[in-house]
């Protein structure tokens, strides 16, 4: 199709009155011709006004209900699918460290047995490193708390494991998120996996370098960025440092808000 042929067809093209074949040919020509693109824009702008010429007619009041019912049903399906995908993602995330935890325990047992049976100095040294485990108590922040747990650092595997019981059930998309705190600056260590009332989280790293470990209740479904947006529900001091709970720190404010609530 050349420009003259398109010019003749332009009116029918914007009115949707061409055959399929003509439409394809016209579209192919338009991809290469700026002048004809301009013609189409001019005529299309006029055609776009034609719907306004229709006489005013009101639909029945029930139409909106039907439209919105279909929309809301689809929105619910969409939301449910998102939640399911999120749960799947969380399970996969949980399964991976759980496997690592199990492997770590098996390795510890193997090394311990080997050390005991072989009575080898080298193995004894390794045994001493394996048995070296740093454990810190974690407690709920409210006065009537039932939350308790511990943070364990296993130097040989350079991994820290959080294990907490008694966390209240979450609502909606809420999540429990773990934090380590140094000089009043929080760093996220990820979302806790809650199963049968027990929340676990492991992360590669040595918590001894930090002042405290905390668990907050976040709006979710994603982990909060930067600092906790919800209340701190559990806290464990990793070093007996002073000033961590100083007035005005974000941590103090969060805990006070939680206690007042």
């Amino acid at each position: 199709m050349d420009c003259q042929q398109f010019e003749e067809l332009a009116g029918a093209y914007v009115l949707g009155a061409t055959s399929e074949l003509e439409r394809y040919a016209a579209q192919a020509h338009l991809t290469t011709c700026a002048s004809c693109q301009h013609t189409v824009r001019e005529l299309q702008a006029v055609t776009d006004l034609l719907p306004l010429a229709a006489p005013a007619v009101e639909p029945s009041p029930g139409l909106k209900k039907r439209v919105m019912a279909a929309v809301e049903a689809d929105a619910r399906e969409h939301a449910a699918a998102q939640r399911a995908a999120q749960r799947t993602q969380q399970r996969r995330w949980w399964q991976y460290p759980q496997t690592r935890l199990a492997v770590a325990c098996v390795l510890i047992l193997l090394v311990l047995s080997a050390g005991l049976t072989a009575w080898n100095l080298n193995l004894q040294q390794q045994l001493s490193r394996v048995s070296e485990m740093f454990s810190y108590k974690i407690q709920g922040t409210s006065p009537d708390t039932t939350i308790s747990g511990e943070a364990m650092y296993l130097p040989q595997f350079h991994v820290t494991i959080l294990n907490i019981q008694g966390l209240p059930p979450l609502a909606g998309a809420e999540v429990y998120q773990g934090w380590v705190i140094k000089n009043n600056h929080p760093d996220s260590i990820g979302l806790l996996n809650v199963q049968d009332g027990v929340a676990t989280l492991d992360f590669p790293g040595d918590i001894r370098a930090y002042d405290a470990v905390a668990v907050s209740r976040e709006p979710g479904p994603q982990a909060s960025q930067g600092k906790p947006h919800g209340p701190i529900v559990a806290l464990g001091t990793l070093q007996n440092k002073q000033g961590l709970m100083g007035t005005g720190s974000w941590l103090t404010m969060r805990i006070e808000r939680k206690v007042e609530g």
Binding site: L50, V57, R66
Partner: protein, 212 residues
């Protein structure tokens, strides 16, 4: 259909923006709908349902069919809002394009066009294809609507009829040419000249069609 509790929708789907949907631009609403915000769909419906219903009804001339097509088309907007791009023009044009295609596809599905051979072109007029005898006497929704109709009525009758048959009745230029026993080139020219005439008339009235 039974309505489930609203709390089952996610927060973003329930939460309305700080300003009301009426204050948001069309593009903002479409963007929110693409993110499955039900409130935005509600606002878009409120904004356009009258104009779109009048348009669809103008084409199919049947209230039940028009409502079914509206429901399908609005749901299509809900599902395909992410495909809208400002590069394709104004949201209103995008919407009318969706609803136009639905309505015309319906007409073509009915094979109503076969009747063109039995209807002399001279007997087809705009007023004969509307839903009731007095529709042209009804109050128009806006000055713009008045002017567009006025512009249509200033067209030479043969140009007005080919635009009516093509745009509102879904006939192709070759079908109209065949039905009227006139050369195809004549039909194409009438469509193009009719639209150019409309453009000039509306520009004189200070209505400048927004080009995409």
């Amino acid at each position: 259909m039974m309505r489930l509790p609203k709390r089952e929708l996610s927060r973003s789907q329930q939460r309305e923006p700080a300003i009301s949907g009426e204050e948001l631009s069309d593009k903002m609403l479409i963007s929110a709908i693409a993110n499955k915000a039900v409130w935005a769909m509600d606002a878009l419906y409120q904004r356009y349902h009258r104009m779109l219903y009048a348009f669809v009804y103008r084409i199919v001339a049947d209230h039940q069919v028009a409502e079914d097509l509206m429901q399908e088309a609005f749901f299509s907007v809900w599902q395909n809002a992410a495909s809208y791009s400002p590069l394709h023009g104004e949201v209103r044009s995008w919407l009318t394009s969706i609803f136009h295609h639905r309505a015309i596809d319906y007409l073509r599905g009915l094979q109503r066009r076969s009747a063109v051979n039995q209807v002399p072109l001279e007997q087809i007029d705009l007023t004969e294809n509307t839903s009731s005898p007095d529709v042209w006497n009804e109050a128009w929704l806006s000055v713009q609507r008045d002017l567009i109709r006025e512009a249509l009525m200033t067209l030479p009758r043969e140009q007005r009829m080919v635009i009516e048959l093509a745009y509102f009745q879904g006939w192709t230029h070759s079908e109209i040419a065949e039905g009227s026993r006139l050369p195809l080139g004549t039909m194409k020219a009438r469509m193009r000249l009719g639209l150019l005439h409309l453009k000039r008339y509306l520009e004189k009235k200070d209505i400048r069609p927004s080009e995409q």
